[in-house]
């Protein structure tokens, strides 16, 4: 461990501007906030103007739900039985992916601490459009049993847009499968357009996020 320094609490040494020596001896300056992230705002993707094509695309999207392997709370323990033979979510075209860039469904599985929310926002913004959020458990609805905690959020839909809720504490894998079917219905009807809502109400979402994430040391949009 390093010696005790008078560190600014909000300062992360990882994001500090620094000199880096490359493999061939060349020295260059790295400013992680600018170099590792893009600060472009999210864009709204309009649906295809021809309804038949849009319906076909929505059908195709609904049949390939690729879930990001990111467990936030106690609900993440429901995911292993879901994808293993007993409940076998692959029957419904649901499968897990290891990185945000390869997935389009984000399961928020249970309570969200502020520290986790920061990572959730980064992962959500890195996911490809069209993307969907499935909120699991009563903690994401109104805080659940952690409604008066100093460190967990109450309403998820103030920070990232939610397509479908699965209520319960904890919901069983069957409930989660029902949630997936509901999400599929919404996608086929063209109602799961919350990624566009996020882009339209971007400032409102950012203001809410920054209200509780005090050490905001990343760009506004982490694509």
């Amino acid at each position: 461990m390093s010696e005790d320094k008078d560190l600014n609490k909000f300062e992360n040494p990882y994001y500090a501007k620094r000199e880096v020596t490359g493999p061939d001896g060349e020295v260059f300056i790295v400013d992680p906030i600018k170099d590792y992230f893009s600060d472009e705002r999210p864009r709204v993707y309009e649906p295809n103007s021809i309804p038949v094509i849009e319906n076909f695309l929505n059908w195709a999207r609904s049949e390939s739900l690729w879930v990001l392997g990111f467990g936030t709370g106690c609900g993440s323990i429901e995911i292993p039985p879901l994808i293993t033979p007993r409940f076998d979510a692959f029957r419904f075209g649901v499968q897990m992916r290891p990185t945000p860039r390869q997935s389009n469904v984000f399961i928020i599985s249970g309570y969200l601490a502020i520290k986790t929310l920061k990572r959730v926002i980064r992962s959500y913004e890195q996911m490809q459009n069209p993307k969907y959020v499935l909120a699991l458990g009563s903690c994401t609805v109104n805080g659940g049993m952690y409604f008066d905690s100093y460190n967990t959020i109450n309403r998820l839909d103030h920070y990232i847009p939610v397509d479908a809720y699965v209520a319960g504490c904890m919901p069983r894998p069957e409930a989660l499968l029902a949630g997936f079917n509901k999400l599929k219905e919404l996608i086929r009807e063209g109602k799961a357009e919350n990624a566009n809502e996020y882009a339209r109400n971007f400032d409102w979402y950012k203001a809410n996020q920054k209200k509780i994430i005090k050490d905001w040391n990343m760009p506004d949009y982490n694509w």
């Binding site: 461990m1 390093s2 010696e3 005790d4 320094k5 008078d6 560190l7 609490k9 909000f10 502020i114 520290k115 920061k118 609805v141 109104n142 805080g143 409604f147 008066d148 905690s149 100093y150 460190n151 967990t152 959020i153 109450n154 309403r155 103030h158 809410n208 209200k211 509780i212 994430i213 005090k214 050490d215 905001w216």
Partner: protein, 175 residues
């Protein structure tokens, strides 16, 4: 084990000895003696395993009660040393030089209760909370419910009725 406690009582002025179980004893030591006592126990009495360091917030008495929980693995015996420190100027001698992992406990106590351990490595780094700017949240004078209501956009809860009153008004409105 009573022999050991009696021997230590003379040297370190122990108070409030509680023989909780055959293999567990609580003692209370003075603040300035505590780290010396812990060092003595580790080096000469075989309490080589550090179990935990915890704190109780006695807001009524305006003190914190630190508990150093030690274990003697050869004799299978636990000894917990309590130590009372002032709540307003919560400062305690660091024990990170005895066991490396004590620094982690002290970091947590600094963040959650605001207790200072001068010289402890990484004490002021973030532990669990990132960018906390209020009073430490586990102190009992911190109102978590009020803080959560102000910060986290609470959803309005449905109205609930007292079942007896409600049934009475529905079934027998005249009475």
């Amino acid at each position: 084990m009573k022999n050991l406690i009696e021997k230590l009582s003379k040297a370190f002025e122990l108070k409030d000895v509680v023989y909780q179980r055959p293999d567990l004893t609580f003692v209370t030591a003075k603040k300035e003696n505590t780290i010396n006592l812990v060092t003595q126990l580790r080096d000469y009495e075989g309490f080589s395993h550090f179990v935990l360091l915890s704190v109780v917030d006695w807001i009524e008495d305006n003190v914190f009660q630190l508990t150093y929980f030690l274990n003697n693995p050869t004799e299978k015996y636990d000894l917990a040393i309590r130590c009372i420190i002032d709540r307003d100027e919560a400062t305690m001698t660091s024990a990170h030089h005895l066991w490396k992992q004590v620094a982690t406990y002290q970091r947590e106590l600094k963040e959650m209760y605001g207790i200072e351990f001068p010289g402890s490595p990484g004490l002021n780094e973030n532990f669990i909370l990132e960018g906390w700017d209020n009073i430490p949240p586990m102190r009992r004078d911190f109102d978590t419910k009020k803080y959560a209501a102000e910060t986290f956009f609470p959803r309005e809860r449905p109205k609930t009725n007292d079942p007896a009153e409600y049934m009475k008004s529905k079934l027998y409105p005249e009475e």
